[in-house]
Amino acid sequence: MIRPDKGGGPDRGPLLALFGAALVLFNFPMLMVFDRDATVFGLPLLGVALFVIWAGLIGLLAWVSERPRRRRPRREKGQP
């Protein structure tokens, strides 16, 4: 029996997807992509990349959390 939570909040789907994305982005072998002697605006690539990915994830989390919740059709009680 799955009942919609009262009071709204972000959907589970986008959150789980973000978690999966973060797990990949913050991990081997994705980090090897940035692990080189290059610089961005005079700064080492790896550090910049990690902070940019991090900030991006926070932005997405904020967006997923704060956007108005889609109204899903509520099933009537008692229906299967």
Partner: protein, 927 residues
Amino acid sequence: MIAPSIVLAVSAGYLLLLFAVAAFGDRRAAQGRSVIGNAWIFALSWAVYCSAWTYFGSVGRAAAGGIWFLPIYLGPMLAMLLAWIVLRKMVRIAQTYRITSIADFIASRYGKSPLLAAAVTLITVVGIVPYIALQLKAVSAGYDLLVHGVEQGPEAAQPWWRNGTFAVTLVLAAFTIVFGTRHLDSAERHEGMVAAIAFESVVKLGAFLAVGIFVTWGIFAGPADIWARAQVFPELQSLMRLGGGEGTAAFGHAQWFATTILAMFSVLLLPRQFQMMVVECVDEHHIRRAAWMFSGYLLLINLFVLPLAIGGMVHFGPGGGMDPETFVLSLPLAEGATVLALVAYIGGMSAATGMLIVETVAVSTMVCNDFVMPSLLRLRGFDARAGGDLTELLLNIRRAAIIAVLLLGYLYYRIAGDAYALVSIGLISFAAVAQFAPALLGGIYWRGGTAAGALAGLLGGFAVWAYTLMLPSMAKSGWLPAAFLDPGPFGIELLAPEALPGLTGLDNLTHSLFWSLLVNVSLYVGISLWRGPGAREASQALLFVDVFEQGDDAAEPAPIFWRGRARLEDLVDLSNRLLGPLRARQMFEDYAAETGVADVEAITADARLVDRVERQLAGAVGSASARVMVASVVQEEPLGIADVIEILDEASQLRVYARALEEKSLSLEAATAELRAANEALQSLDHMKDDFMSSVTHELRTPLTSIRALTELMLDTPDMEAEQREKFLRIVVSESERMSRLVNQVLDMAKMESGHAEWHNADVDMRALISDAVTITAEVFRERGAVAVADLPAQVPLIRADPDRLTQVMLNLLTNAAKFVPKETGRAEVILRVRADDLVVTVRDNGPGIPEAQRAAVFERFRQVGDAATRPHGTGLGLPISRRIVEHSGGEMWVEAAPGGGACFAFRLPLGPGEGEGHGHQGADCR
């Protein structure tokens, strides 16, 4: 160098400020105007995660390992992405069942096992006390650096009473006692403390950012400049590569992954995090916003870690004698920015004190509820039935626990000092609390977990942790022979604690985490599967895993797994002793109000009451102790697994009944409403019938009266002049005609209303019909010196209707107009327009018009609007009949005001069959 008196005065001032903030928070809470009831404060309070280990240690780690300091903060980011799913469930469970510590949470999930609670407490104390020592060391080291300056190395040992650290410890103990144990709160919430911690989080972030900005743009010319100048030192190059400062060419991705996962668990499972995120949560909806705000906080506080670390090493030279962990203080000091150094020190102190306060409150709650109370309950002389108020005792136990935990931390700091065991304790503590993850997270998503499995997993994991991380750290500190590490205990290489069974190539943390969690999960799952859960475990599992399905509406109560007999007096006594008489009274009164009982004395001591009392007591003494105490005052029937299933069945049946009842009452309500509406309609019909009867008789009586009067007059006056007689007879005839017209119309109306009227539908050309009607009424108009004109289109489609009836409508409207137009200047206009789906006929005149308020009334029977004295004669049935005819033909009729004040009647008739709904009133040529 700064004078010690200044440093001490500023520190004391800061601590006083902290007291003030906390007192303010508590006062506002008491007034019911909470300052912590929003997501911002909630998120800031989570930042207690950033202890002195972050504040000073991150720079040290970054100086040694470059980018490797980051996983500690990327892990929490991962956890925050799932906070809404996982953390909210933990909060809902904790608040539903009054859980106040992580030990309580785990114990409660597995059948309120006191043994499990004690095990969790033990692991926490062993894992956390060194961590507390680390914070004290940070405060002390910072103080020394400020007072003795950067030139001097580690200061000569001072006697302990002259060291400010001891004073700080005592002040913190006082703070924690004042704001952590002011009263025994069954929700175990401390608003003042949370306000103070949120304040400390702002201070430490602000201070760290200030130092970061000063170093990056004050000492250097921006981050790019720092990096450019670091190019001179080849040993700094590798810091920004994954190979790290350790110089290993291969990326230790296992270690990276392990540290991230470790931090992910820690941000949820460290006692201080559990206290802030779960226990102090005001509203679970704040989690939504706090999750990303806290992530943002972590990003901000880490932004300048690398610039500080690399900048410091460039400034002092790599290996230049300065400990990188002190860069936050030593860089401003070396540049002569003493005020900034002082600010940085206060920031570090806020990081340390925040962690100390919350950790101590959390640990002391556990020690009191899960160590001391169960032991007391086991004592022979300490019977729960015995009298006496226990609240003061409970508070004193907590106060003693706070002092004990802090002093233990101080002692550890004095003894271990600079030993390796202390320096590396941050991650070692993380690894200890990670042992809670399988039992806790498994417990809220898997129903099959058992107390035996959880206990075995916890102890097994803890043992492996101690053997692979804790003992080696002691060996490295020189407290154990080095041979213990290499080759291994008793010279057995397979037992070497950092390379179990000969597994090499992993760093010690990853190695320990892998083995401890493997043992932990295997034992937890294996033993849980081997011996299934007992009745109490199964029932608690159900309450925890399905917490979102236990609706909070009264119609669907959660099942209560308790059977037995209880006496109200016993429960009241017990509550009085543990909650205090005031709060106990409040609880019973609330319960009486909820169950609709007039008086506390009239409450039935049923399972629901026992459950309520037990939950409230759990808030005060922990669920395991509450279970024991409640069990000691009531007569319980042992609960078998069959009973659990039976109770569940009852609950679900109750749920079905409740739902059916709800549906029944809903349909009953609907039926009642329908009946009421029908009744009202009938009553109004009855009323209308009465009105109709009285109107008809009234209308009939008027001509009848004049007929009778005239005929009587003629009968009484046989010699009446012929001329006079003829005049009277004419009136009699005209009045009789009026009567018969009225009777005909009444019959007509009645027939139409009853549906018995005969309709002879044919194809009707409205153009011809209207011009005929105008011709017929031309005489009536001419009598009044008025004219009627028709404005008709050249061609009109035929419609299907009864032509005689429609003629009746047109004649009625035209004669009405003729009656009301002014003499000599009167003018009526008939306009026919064809629209897409219908025809619109408009009849407008230049008479006095109809006031807007009376327009709806003209279509009611016998309602002749206007002044009764001046209006022309009529039956009052013409318009109602006309409207009915139009409506029967599928159209509608309405009235508007014509320009110049006259009346304008209009009706529309559909062109096709069944055209009920049309374009409304637009298109009538009233203006």
